[in-house]
Subunit: 195 residues, 2 copies
């Protein structure tokens, strides 16, 4: 038996699950409250019972949870990969590509502009903490004997995500091969450079 406490009724959890799927796939502006209600089989006005402040409140909650999933998944994948940082990068990359597309570019460049400045700031903090920190731990090992790059490890962690994200953006008409093959190419350049 589970006594639901504040803000975690079952109906509310269903709302969050559906909203997460829709928001993460199509973005903040493209998903309407009617879309979410329809996917749940209820009227969109009923959503205000669970999220009195409306669409933005729902989006913030959903996105913060999504980032928690990323953080946990990344940490688990990295820890399971062992002690070789190359294996860790590999595991993180493959885990990310196994998830539904993150759409980091859209989130940072579109969604964050369409919500209030306060909500955007809060979410950006969560997004970067969730993604950068797990990878930073790996990179601190990888860059241990390179003090110059070591102090830029967060920047380099950001590069990692830009590269993984970019794999989904490249059109199949321009690049041949599966995503897994592309991961090999991308990580090869990331680790070894162009030569």
């Amino acid at each position: 038996m589970h006594h639901p406490e504040q803000g975690e009724s079952e109906a509310r959890e269903r709302v969050i699950a559906v909203a997460r799927q829709l928001f993460s796939e199509h973005g903040y502006q493209a998903v309407t409250l009617r879309d979410i209600g329809q996917a749940l089989g209820i009227r969109h006005t009923s959503l205000y019972h669970h999220f009195p402040q409306g669409k933005e409140e729902l989006f913030v909650e959903v996105t913060a949870r999504r980032m928690g999933v990323y953080r946990q998944g990344l940490e688990a994948a990295i820890q399971q990969a062992g002690s070789d940082w190359r294996d860790c990068l590999h595991a993180a990359a493959l885990w990310l590509l196994d998830q539904p597309a993150m759409h980091l570019g859209r989130m940072l460049q579109a969604d964050m502009s369409q919500i209030s400045a306060e909500a955007a700031m809060k979410l950006k903090e969560i997004i970067f903490a969730s993604l950068l920190q797990p990878l930073n731990a790996v990179l601190r090992v990888a860059l241990a004997d390179n003090p110059e790059k070591l102090q830029r490890s967060l920047t380099i962690a950001g590069m990692f995500y830009s590269l993984i994200e970019g794999i989904d953006n490249l059109p199949a008409s321009y690049v041949k091969g599966t995503k897994q093959e592309l991961v090999e190419v991308v990580l090869d350049v990331f680790i070894n450079g162009l030569k």
Copy 2:
């Protein structure tokens, strides 16, 4: 004297200039025809005189032209940089960062989903041709003695843009230093890898 031909009256050019600025900064959905009209000092309905098919037609025209500017600018920057491919990559990166933000992630992940499939396909072709091909010429030189990577040069060109784009996405609170310093870090890793 200049006899304006089909589709290049002065008023039409003014519309395109304003729409380009607004669309490239805020994206397709966030910019309304009223916004564009207001910036021009005219009513939004007057825009239909120049673009009878409405917002999408205007966006396609504007985006296609923007990509032409990128292609020309990149080719000029690369050619001016000389024969060392490292200098060429540097010049291309600095030229891109000197431009207004490209918002490639938003374009590919949000804007392209909000227009018709035909328009999206046409624009994607133009985008990738304009960006990938100038850089591919540089990379074919850089990778000349590495046949494995050479056949992946278009993928690697895509990586270059993901990395440059990512510089604008990293929040100042997480990374210290100017954009120019970040370019150095990013290109160092791109060229030499992590070690």
